[in-house]
Amino acid sequence: MITAEDIKEYIKKIPPTPAILNETILHVNAGDLTKAAKVAQEDLALASYLRNLVNKPIYGFKNEVHDISQIFGILGVNIAKQSLYNYMLSLLSPKKWVLFAMNQHLFYDLQADLSKHWYDILEHLNIDDKDIGSAITLLPSSIIICEALFKENIENVKLLRSTKNLDYNTILKRLTKLDLFDISKYIAKTWQMPESIGTIILASSGTRPASDERLNNLGKWMHLLLFYELSKPQFLEAGLNDFIEFNVEYVMDIYEDFMKVMEVKE
């Protein structure tokens, strides 16, 4: 169905970070948002993405924010960096989704929701770290990879899943010894993201706990956040809810805290 060769081919096609984006990230890392904004607005697609992202209801701005310098100012260093990585990932997303009933608009919504809630979680955990803040941006890569690898095998997977409760991640792992999150980690490496991001992403799969307790804990929060998001009607209808297996036991010790942060009444 899917072979290790197919994965190699897929990995080969992952583009390097565009030069403008690299430069923008360098300025953000240095804390110079003015310079970052100046470089960013040279890339029209990036500028448009940032405008679209910031003006989503989840960010809660009353008036539409249009100016890129203003956007960087509003976002601050951490969220600006997060948004740039989100843009990078959006470049990988397919124009036409086949496996999942997704579209560009819905994918951007997912990115925005995850990023905003991740910010709330890090605030609750008193973590102020640009790299960890950006880690969330790589999480939806698992969905993009799943779409790319399985879109030619929809009927096969349907048949398989009619008789056995298997998620895409498990199927891929059993077929190729690699799972979606291994590939996500590879993307992080290709895009020269900090190593901690790859570690948190692996832990967020719910099957690969990190040896570093702090990063593992963040992996738990991310795993639960993913399923919180994927339980929303629009993502359920897109068929995303069971693309990986939800490991309830893994997240039980942070569940109460999570519900408080998300303000869910039990």
Partner: protein, 464 residues
């Protein structure tokens, strides 16, 4: 979301958060229609991967289950929960709990009519005496041996020795069970359990397709366990008479065990005897009497005297059957499967000691049986995707082989449907040794196709 079906039990596995806002999105109209069409005896919702639910969320699934039960007469329920979730469900439905609650899916399977595992010793406790009795009776009826604890203290004491039991049953409740005629296989006889007053409804609750297929695959003895039948009317008599007549065409015997006829006109019994029905007072009168068992056809799944041969229609569709097998093997192994030879013959198995097999029947516009025979190591390899970790446990391998042949059956059904040929598939059957397969199929003529993948050989056999 679609239910995963195994051994006649369908289970939904929602994940994450389940509330009134999102629950309807788990089930599209197509999902509901597909669920209604499922040929299952039990339909469940698993809460194993649900971390949060409220009444409005769970009730969307419960309403679907109730609708399916009314339509299909099957057992329904919720499974895979911890004590907290159990208490929540009991609070939500305290006055109106008409579905079952099974602590886990293994417990649920014990109450399922078609579950292949029988004779399991289980420890059982419920603080509600009526529930305790109801569960014990159902477990007995399904061929298991419940050890019933009357008190919590006794239960806790016994539960320490958990290795002594296949499963420990607590925090479990039975709602209305399915009204389908329960079916089980004992040796080479098929036992149907019926109870209460038998009337025209038996025509709806008896799985005639399963029965016909059992005749086709060579079963010759069918026993109605009728200890709990109070009486029957003329409609039930007519139905049973017809069943006996059709069985006679296959030289099969249908017998009725345990019914007293105290409240039933004796003329009904005579009419059934005229149709060929045999009556016995006790199950052991048949099952423990080897001579009688042999005479009635229950000592082995005999080959049919008037062998049914492959029809032109089935042979014409042979490429679809092979295609379904090859693509499934390729999907499961990522290896190219190659057809080596194809011949019309009786089944021939080399190195018989090293082989395992599975089969699945199909019926409808055409009927027949697909058989797959694998060397044990190859069976393991070809099912690796289903099994996951490496295992030598023959039960796990057989389980996976059943799922494997089920996928082939499903794929064949789809391929044939594209040509307007409508078939349904039976439950898969597995054979731990090829010898057991030969007891069923040695005299059957069919198409044998020897295939290989990655230099491993396996055999596909299509017969009627």
């Amino acid at each position: 979301m679609r239910a995963v079906v195994k051994d006649g039990v369908g289970i939904f596995y929602p994940q994450g958060f389940l509330d009134g806002n999102n629950a309807p999105s788990f089930l599209t109209i197509d999902d509901i229609k597909a669920t209604e069409q499922l040929k299952v005896d039990m339909l469940l919702v698993s809460l194993k991967k649900v971390i949060f639910f409220n009444f409005n969320g769970i009730d969307v699934f419960v309403k679907l289950l109730l609708r399916i039960r009314i339509k299909n007469h099957i057992a329904i329920g919720i499974c895979d929960y911890d004590r907290k979730k159990y208490d929540a469900i009991m609070t939500y439905y305290k006055d109106n709990l008409s579905f079952s609650l099974f602590k886990n899916s293994r417990i649920a399977e014990l109450f399922a009519s078609n579950f292949v595992v029988k004779d399991k010793t289980v420890l059982l406790y419920s603080s509600d005496p009526s529930q305790r009795s109801a569960m014990a009776i159902e477990l007995y009826d399904h061929g298991h041996n419940p050890v019933i604890s009357q008190t919590k203290e006794d239960f806790d004491e016994k539960a320490i020795h958990h290795d002594a039991y296949y499963e420990i049953i607590e925090n479990t409740r039975l709602g209305l069970m399915g009204q389908k005629v329960a079916t089980r296989v004992t040796g080479n006889a098929i036992i149907y359990t019926v109870s209460g007053f038998l009337d025209a409804e038996i025509g709806n609750t008896f799985n005639i397709a399963y029965h016909t297929n059992s005749l086709n695959v060579g079963f010759r003895l069918f026993i109605f366990d009728a200890y709990k039948v109070i009486s029957m009317n003329v409609h039930a008599v007519n139905f049973l008479s017809k069943l006996c007549s059709s069985a006679a065409e296959y030289n099969a015997t249908i017998s009725f065990v345990g019914m007293t006829f105290e409240k039933t006109p004796i003329a009904f019994k005579e009419e059934l005897e005229d149709s060929g029905m045999m009556f016995f007072n006790n199950m052991d009168d048949i099952l423990k009497d080897k001579e009688l068992l042999e005479e009635l056809g229950g000592s082995s799944v005999a080959a049919i005297k008037n062998k049914r041969t492959l029809t032109k229609t089935i042979v014409a569709e042979l490429p679809d059957f092979i295609d379904a097998t090859v693509t499934t093997i390729e999907m499961m192994t990522n290896a190219k499967a190659v057809k080596k030879s194809a011949n019309m013959q009786t089944i021939a198995i080399e190195n018989i000691d090293d082989k395992m097999a599975s089969s699945i029947g199909f019926y409808g516009n055409i009927d027949g049986m697909i058989i797959l025979i694998f060397p044990k190591e190859v069976a393991k390899k070809s099912c690796a995707l289903l099994i996951g970790e490496e295992t030598d446990d023959p039960n796990q391998i057989l389980d996976a082989l059943a799922e494997f042949v089920n996928i082939i059956g499903g794929r064949t059904k789809t391929l044939l449907a594209e040509k307007q040929i409508s078939v349904d598939i039976t439950l898969p059957r597995t054979y731990e040794t090829a010898q057991k397969l030969l007891e069923v199929a040695s005299m059957k003529k069919g198409v044998q196709v020897d295939m290989s993948f990655n230099d491993d050989n396996f055999t596909f056999f299509l017969t009627r």
